[in-house]
Point group: C2
Chain length 340, copies 2
């Protein structure tokens, strides 16, 4: 993870977000080791806010989205752990200076002692979801927009080269008003090979319904890398949720990286959970839907502990639990567990 | 190690020192893993200057003396690796703001995943040398000056508590004009239990002779923790060496941390070598004495490769190879090799 600090994205000098990130790190640390990178300036503050079980390392970044700026870990044919370093352009240019974010994956891999594959196209960890058996989920909205000079076929070849993907399932758009321009990790993810969770809205007046229905149709028509049809679990959407006037007022607008407006729709989604060893860390976003999401996920993941963590402060910054984390396999972990 | 950068201590914006540090890291990396900490600003430069075998981590510091600001690793009674974090005051106040240096040991231990003992007195790794069997070498000049409120007996009790030292051998002064005010690691060190290397001058006009003779007498009179007398190997001093006008002119004097004067004596000493696994990395300081030092060390360490590295640029900054390194034992290393 990375420690949030920029006051032009996180309200009230990032203090509420820091509390929320600390709660996430603490929740995950019950199940697996957690490291969090903090800038030199924030190091002591981060160290003081986190339990001893969480490792804090100095690591500067432009913001705190480890999913997108960190490496995507892969295992090569010989069983060795490697990291893919994607080219990064701040989600198409959400802020101008992203040189520190561009270096995060390299620094993480140095600390981990892992060799690096430098991918020659723009991508983020949040723009892909894999089943570990050769299937990858992406969205047209995100991947084609990031790489206007690359064809769909060329992108599929690159995803095969860097992720071992034999089958790319193209969804259309991402969640409504998602600033990442359509990251799949807020829309849909694999629960395990052959099973997908999809964010869903039953409200015909919510534009999210159209987006989710389109994704559902594509998923139902798809075959995965092993030729299977997919089972799709519909996860209720929270809200719709909107940024309040008070929340928007806490963000420093001077060198604003985006307009944080009161009334702006927030791209909340329960699909943005984090899978830890033996657990599912669930973003709590809306008291009226949190329970239904938890119940559904308990059915889909019967062998995992479902641990809810309040996540609105993270959502205000533009993402959620999956976006602020990046899992790192054990060096000798060659095979996934059955109940991934 | 740490990557040097401050222009008010290292001439020509630290570029020659960076080359020298890179050569040291490269030499050590032939024998054991090396990590080097660099500030966010210098990270890319450090990474580019170092071979892939050297791990570069982001780690800010006020200067580059890992021996003094890093943790001193110890093994506790249960065989677990721990780090001692000494209190640090920039060698009695050589520069005013040393908050980053104060945090280095903690950050190193976080990366290493090692628990920390916080020692309640001022000390630096360069102010102690141990034999691994309960004996520690220190100087009165350094330890008493750093801790004016602590008696010799109290300091011995603290060294026992934090290093397991059963016997403290007090030498008097350190090397002439040593800015550390008498670090023992520039004067004398253990070659192995029962054997000490001592920097030596045969020139009766050199004030170093008086200092080395005093140390020699104390060492000859001493018993180590196991009651043994010590064998002392006299290592010839280089020089005397002096800073040239040109060298002094390359240092930014604006916010000078010390007066770097042309003609100033440099505290060069071959005792300031670094012991890597299977090797001794020797500072090359003076063509007229390097050979004699190498020959003597080859006799004292017959089973180690002696690898010389040009070290004048490091000496200009105020220390040498031992000062810029800090060894970190393997986690499961409970016993030293016979030929330590």
């Amino acid at each position: 993870m990375l420690w949030p600090e920029r006051p032009d994205n996180w309200r009230r000098r990032a203090e509420p977000a820091q509390q929320a990130f600390a709660a996430v790190a603490t929740a995950i640390a019950r199940f697996e080791p957690v490291s969090i990178g903090a800038s030199a300036r924030q190091y002591a503050r981060a160290r003081g806010a986190l339990p001893a079980a969480v490792r804090v390392v100095e690591l500067s970044s432009d913001d705190a989205w480890m999913r997108d700026v960190g490496p995507s870990f892969v295992v090569n044919a010989a069983g060795a752990l490697r990291g893919v370093h994607w080219r990064f352009n701040a989600w198409g240019g959400l802020y101008r200076d992203f040189r520190r974010d561009q270096a995060v994956a390299h620094k993480v891999l140095e600390i981990a002692g892992c060799e690096r594959y430098c991918a020659p196209f723009i991508n983020e960890g949040g723009a892909i979801h894999v089943d570990g058996q050769g299937t990858v989920l992406v969205t047209e909205q995100c991947l084609l927009k990031r790489n206007p000079s690359l064809s769909r076929g060329r992108l599929e070849a690159l995803l095969e080269r860097y992720l071992g993907a034999k089958r790319v399932i193209w969804l259309g758009e991402g969640v409504i008003d998602d600033e990442t321009s359509g990251h799949v990790d807020n829309l849909a993810c694999f629960a395990r090979p052959g099973e997908v969770c999809l964010t869903w809205s039953d409200d015909p007046h919510d534009p999210q319904q159209r987006v989710s229905k389109d994704a559902w149709e594509r998923l139902m028509a798809a075959r995965d890398a092993r030729g299977r049809r997919l089972v799709v679990h519909k996860l209720p959407s929270p809200g719709p949720l909107y940024m309040t006037r008070r929340e928007a007022a806490g963000v420093v607008a001077d060198h604003a990286i985006r307009r944080l407006r009161a009334g702006q729709r927030l791209a909340g989604s329960y699909v943005n959970f984090y899978l830890a060893n033996g657990a599912l860390i669930l973003p709590l976003l809306d008291a009226s839907t949190d329970g239904a999401a938890r119940r559904l996920l308990r059915r889909v993941f019967p062998r995992r502990r479902i641990v809810g963590v309040p996540a609105r402060e993270i959502l205000l910054g533009g993402g959620d639990l999956h976006c602020i984390t990046q899992q790192q396999p054990k060096r000798d972990a060659r095979r996934r567990r059955a109940d991934q």
